[in-house]
Every structure is written in structure tokens, then in C-alpha cells.
């Protein structure tokens, strides 16, 4: 759906927000519509994406990994090579530039793994703005390297100790801040979630991933048979999928199955959730039988979220995209396999997509091709992986 006027993807999306935010959301939508096709704005954003963030990113043929799996050719869309180490910078440069046009002096953001927080801090530093980042207390511990990075980049990090102390609570707290400082503040949301127009706007800023894939595919001479990306809130996935939904490619989003979908310890919203309203949107959610949001779990902080972008809910229900999941154990295997075959350390989030690609490749023909979005690099995760290995692997 190109630009849903009411912000609806079928029944999903919309604006379920406190009234105080309505003028801010309307101002945002107005400005987004004004600037999104504006020549100068696009030129400026393009400049930063190329010269600052390092676009375009390569579509790398992972020969060793492909041969090890013994099936289709696996191509990696290398978002991990971007400045900051993840796809998040595509969105933060776009939104920070927009905020600047809107004369907003203060930027707030939430972050899970810290990647969006870092990308926000970078965009704000280079564009000369002040940023404050809300981060679940639990996440400040398991991703502490990113807390240091944000601090050094000049962002103020607020650890959030309410609720489950992860991404969902960081979003709650950012929204509360926004309600309180609505006139001065721009809320720079980090995924394709929240009230309209965020899901569309973030998708559009991330669509540079899929657009580049489209061009790069031509050099490989055919459309890919399968396209895969990991899904937390769903921004790297929708940015990959959206430009490709009109092709014949099979599209697969991969959620975090944690300790298994039958356990309570996962964050596979589309695979195991039901419809509901959270953070300004109607979408699939993980909730109990009374509509209370349940606590989620994932080895990767960036996927540890009980909701998902509304366009993914729509793509699931219309069956255009399949949503699968990968367990922690599968993710660690994929992480190590990519690291050792290709010398690329993936983010644990992205390793979910790699795990699925490995499964698919093993069952496919050599003539087929698979494109996987490698949404980020894994330097932030080596400690976590080390912890996992020392707990689970004897000797």
C-alpha cells in the first residue's frame, strides 16, 4: 500500500493516541508529505546516505556459506557495513533531517539493542541536534557497549525501570516524554511501528534497502527466488520487502522463537500472537487472554518486542509474506557458521534471518538464489554469545 491516507493497512495501523499528541502527529504527517518528494530534501538525504552512512551497501555472494549448505546461492545485503553498524541509520538520517526542517530542537528516541539509539545519536551529532534516548534497564546491561557509544556521541541515555524494562517500556517512556514536551520535541521512532504516519515513513526511509537490491539483482541477471529478513518491529524487513512485493519472489520474515514457541520465552508476535492495540497501532501482539501485554524474551535485544509493524500484520493476513521463526540455539549456530565460513560477524537479530536462509538453502536447488538482509554487525553481541556458549557448550 503506497500511502494509506488514514494510516490503515487493511484493519491494521491507525492512530490510537492520547489527544495531546494529535497536533504533533498531524504536524509530522503534514511535513513528511511536504518533504518526502521534495527535490532538495531528497538530495540532502541522499548525500548523507552516500557520503556519511556509506550507501549503497554491497549485495555480497556468500560463496562459502552457500557451498556449505549445498543448495541455492545465498546473497547478503550488507547493511552491517553501514556507519554505526546497522540499517538503523537509513531511518535516523531521514527523520533527523525532517526534524531539522520542522525546526525541532530536541530529539527523543527509544532503543532496544541500542543500535537505533546509536544511529540517532550519530545523526543528531552530524546535524547539530540534541538527543535523549530511552532504553530498558535490562537492555542497558546486556548491550552496555552501545550505552557507552551513545554517551560518547553526546546523547543522554535514560534507563527505563518500569514494566518489563525492555524495548516496549522504553517506547512507553518515550511517548510519555513526548506528551509532556510535545511542542519542542521530535520523537524519532526506530522501527516501522507506532501511530500513523510512523509505520509508512520508516518503511519509506528503509526502502532504500529493497530498491538497491532491485538494481543489484539485475547484475545477477534474475529475480531472487527467496528474500529473507529478520522481524523485530519490522523496519529492516519492510524496507527489504516493500520494493519487492510485486515480484515473484517468495518472501519470508523471521521472528525470534527464543526458547521455543511452546515456551513462554519468545517474541514471535506474528507466529504466535493475536490482534490488539498497543503503542498507537492496531496490530498483532503477544498478550494474555485478558488483553494484558505479556513479557517477551529473545537472546537479541532488538527483537525482544511484543508487537510488530502493522504492515507486516497485513502482509501476513493477505498471505503475501510468510513469517517463520528461529530459536536461540538455531541463531547461535547460524551466527557461528557465518562467522567461520565468511568472516562476517552478524548481529544476533540478523542471525535469525541467516538461520532461516540456511534452512531454505539446504532444501533448494543450486540454480536458485536467496537474498538475506544482514541488518547489522555483531560486535555488540560477542559478549552475549560468549555467555551463551559458556553456559550451553561443555568443554
Amino acid at each position: 500500500m503506497k500511502y494509506p491516507k488514514d494510516g490503515k493497512f487493511g484493519e491494521f495501523g491507525g492512530k490510537y493516541i492520547p489527544e495531546t499528541l494529535v497536533p504533533a502527529i498531524e504536524e509530522l504527517e503534514e511535513n513528511y508529505l511536504k518533504f518526502k518528494d521534495n527535490k532538495d530534501f531528497k538530495k540532502e538525504l541522499d548525500y548523507y546516505l552516500k557520503q556519511y552512512a556509506g550507501r549503497p551497501t554491497p549485495l555480497y555472494y556468500a560463496k562459502n556459506l552457500s557451498e556449505k549448505c549445498g543448495g541455492a546461492k545465498i546473497y547478503l545485503k550488507r547493511e552491517d557495513l553501514l556507519h554505526g553498524g546497522a540499517h538503523k541509520i537509513n531511518n535516523t538520517l531521514g527523520q533527523a533531517l525532517l526534524a531539522k526542517k520542522m525546526n525541532k530542537k530536541r530529539i527523543i528516541a527509544e532503543t532496544g539493542a541500542g543500535q537505533h539509539g546509536v544511529a540517532t545519536a550519530m545523526a543528531c551529532a552530524v546535524l547539530g541536534m540534541k538527543s535523549e534516548v530511552y532504553m530498558g534497564y535490562k537492555d542497558t546491561i546486556r548491550q552496555k557497549l552501545n550505552v557507552y557509544r551513545m554517551n560518547m556521541l553526546g546523547a543522554k541515555v535514560h534507563p527505563v525501570k518500569s514494566g518489563s524494562k525492555t524495548l516496549k517500556d522504553a517506547i512507553n517512556e518515550a511517548i510519555r516524554d513526548w506528551i509532556t514536551n510535545v511542542e519542542s520535541t521530535y520523537y524519532l521512532l526506530g522501527s516501522a511501528v507506532g501511530p500513523h504516519p510512523y509505520p509508512v515513513m520508516v518503511r519509506d526511509f528503509q526502502s532504500v534497502i529493497g530498491e538497491e537490491i532491485k538494481v543489484q539483482m539485475k547484475k545477477i541477471s534474475k529475480t531472487p527466488d527467496v528474500v529473507i529478513a529478520c522481524v523485530g518491529g519490522g523496519s529492516n524487513a519492510i524496507g527489504t520487502f516493500y520494493p519487492l512485493v510485486d515480484t515473484n519472489a517468495e518472501i519470508i520474515g523471521v521472528e525470534a522463537a527464543g526458547k521455543g514457541l511452546k515456551s513462554k520465552y519468545h517474541s514471535a508476535t506474528l507466529s504466535a500472537g493475536s490482534k490488539g492495540v498497543l503503542h498507537g497501532m492496531m496490530t498483532y501482539l503477544l498478550q494474555d487472554d485478558e488483553g494484558q501485554i505479556t513479557e517477551t524474551y529473545s537472546i537479541s535485544a532488538g527483537l525482544d518486542y511484543p508487537g510488530v509493524g502493522p504492515e507486516h500484520s497485513y502482509l501476513k493476513d493477505t498471505k503475501r509474506v510468510k513469517y517463520h521463526s528461529a530459536t536461540d540455539a538455531e541463531v547461535i549456530d547460524a551466527f557461528l557458521m557465518l562467522t567461520r565460513t565468511e568472516g562476517i560477524i552478524p548481529a544476533l537479530e540478523s542471525a535469525h534471518a541467516i538461520a532461516e536462509a540456511i534452512k531454505v538453502a539446504k532444501k533448494s536447488k543450486k540454480s536458485e538464489s536467496i537474498i538475506v538482509t544482514l541488518s547489522g554487525r555483531g560486535d555488540k553481541d560477542v559478549e552475549e554469545v560468549q555467555r551463551y556458549l559458556s553456559k550451553h557448550v561443555k568443554n
Partner: protein, 267 residues
């Protein structure tokens, strides 16, 4: 006429404004809820808002967040909530409003939830994350059943206030401050201005209540003077509940309520 509108009519005849009290059901336990309600009625509250906890109360400040969490930890469920409402209904005719978040109603189904609430004795709903744009099914389900109280803010435009006014019944809830619920000190000029503006726009068609951050008799007095038809006090009651031993709760709530209510009587 709904119980809420009848109450406003009755007060208006007596030249009084409404004191609306908010408490979180199940905080810190069910007995405290019953004692608090008794105290509120005794102290002269005109309408009671009963909070049903939601895991992610994004319009609430730390006091109500904490109360929600404790209530949920105590096992507050929809059925138990309605049982408490029925128990309260056996003791009093005071108008009761249920305040919670959209997902709680959506998940059960708007018609099912609203019917059950009505049968238990609920007269209206306040959902801080329900916008008029998304309210079609909610409004259809509440029609001729319960009042739907929408919120407006000091930054809401005139044309939007008119639109929201049309979707609202019972009263219109003006959020006093930019911010979440909680205890704030001092009164903002922009709030007083907003009250006058909203009263002008609604021109008596629907009562206007002011809430968020209202916590002292002096606050109540100033908002009434500015033209509010109702003043809503929440976090201050929760704070008092937190600090008061169970056996003194009813009396202390009654005394505090009385001190607030006194300020709604126009002399």
C-alpha cells in the same frame, strides 16, 4: 438521561460543580477499594472513576503506573473487577466510570465488554488512547448503553473540539496539562485559558471536566472559578491510599474528599 448527566443536572440545580474521584481497583487490594469507595461517598464525591489496570499505561505517570502494576500482581481480572463493581452498586447509586486502555475492550470485543460493564453497573468509559478516528465500533457498541467520555487537551483545535464533543457523552474531559497523570504543583495559565475556550466552544451542550495533576482543594477552587463543570482528582487519592493503614482508610478518604468537595460549591 444517563446517571452521569442526571448527576450534572442535579448539581447544577444546587449551584454546585462535580467532584470526580479516581481510584485504581485492586490497589493495594480489593478491601482497600471497597473502603475507599465508602470514604469517597461519605465525603461527598459526585462521581467515581474506577481504574482497571493495563500492563502499558502510556498516559499515566509513576503513581498510577505503580498502582496498575500492583493491582495486576494482585490478580485483578475483568471478572473480579465486575464483581467489585456489583458489590459497590449494592451500596450506592453514585455514577461509576470505568477508566482503562483500548486494548482491554478490544480484546474481549467492544459489545461484549460494554454489555458486561453496563450489567455490573458501569455508566461510562474513559479510554485515554482512543481517538475519535478509531472509535466507530466503540461508539456503536456503547450507544444507548454507556456514556463515552473523550479527552481533549489544551492544544486541541477548535474544529476538533467540536468533533470530539459530538462523539462524547456524559462529559468532556479536558486534560489540564501537557503531560501524564500525576501530582503537579501550581496551575498553568494555559489551562485556565483552555477551560474558558472549551466552555465557549461547547456552549453548555456538554459539561466540561478538568483532570490530570489536580491534587489540592486550592486546585479545585481555581478550576471551578475558571468555569470547569467538574474537577477530577486521581493520583492524590492513590498517594493517600498508599500512606494510610487499612483501618483508617475510609475515614481519611472521607475527610480529604470533603475538603475537595467544599471547593465545588459556589457561594
Amino acid at each position: 438521561m444517563s446517571r452521569i448527566r442526571e448527576k450534572f443536572a442535579e448539581l447544577s440545580a444546587k449551584k454546585e460543580k462535580a467532584l470526580i474521584a479516581y481510584i485504581m481497583v485492586g490497589y493495594p487490594n480489593e478491601n482497600a477499594t471497597i473502603s475507599s469507595v465508602r470514604g469517597l461517598v461519605k465525603g461527598g464525591a459526585d462521581i467515581i472513576e474506577l481504574g482497571f489496570p493495563f500492563s502499558d499505561p502510556l498516559a499515566d505517570g509513576p503513581i498510577i503506573q505503580n498502582a496498575s502494576m500492583i493491582s495486576l500482581e494482585n490478580g485483578t481480572k475483568i471478572n473480579r473487577f465486575f464483581n467489585i463493581v456489583k458489590k459497590i452498586r449494592r451500596e450506592t447509586d453514585i455514577p461509576l466510570i470505568l477508566m482503562t486502555y483500548t486494548n482491554i475492550l478490544y480484546h474481549k470485543g467492544y459489545p461484549e465488554f460494554i454489555t458486561e460493564a453496563k450489567n455490573a453497573g458501569i455508566d461510562g468509559f474513559i479510554l485515554p488512547d482512543m481517538s475519535i478516528e478509531e472509535s466507530k465500533e466503540y461508539l456503536a457498541s456503547a450507544k444507548n448503553m454507556t456514556d463515552t467520555i473523550f479527552l481533549i487537551s489544551p492544544n486541541t483545535t477548535k474544529s476538533r473540539i467540536e468533533k470530539i464533543g459530538k462523539s462524547s457523552s456524559g462529559f468532556l474531559y479536558l486534560v489540564a496539562v501537557y503531560g501524564t497523570t500525576g501530582i503537579k504543583t501550581g496551575i498553568q495559565n494555559y489551562t485556565l485559558k483552555a477551560i474558558k475556550e472549551v466552555k465557549k466552544i461547547t456552549s453548555g451542550k456538554i459539561p466540561v471536566g478538568v483532570g490530570f495533576g489536580v491534587s489540592t482543594p486550592d486546585d479545585v477552587k481555581k478550576y471551578v472559578k475558571a468555569g470547569a463543570d467538574a474537577v477530577i482528582v486521581g493520583s492524590a487519592f492513590l498517594k493517600l491510599i498508599e500512606q494510610t493503614p487499612q483501618n483508617k482508610l475510609e475515614l481519611r478518604i472521607a475527610a480529604f474528599t470533603k475538603s475537595l468537595k467544599r471547593q465545588t460549591i459556589i457561594t
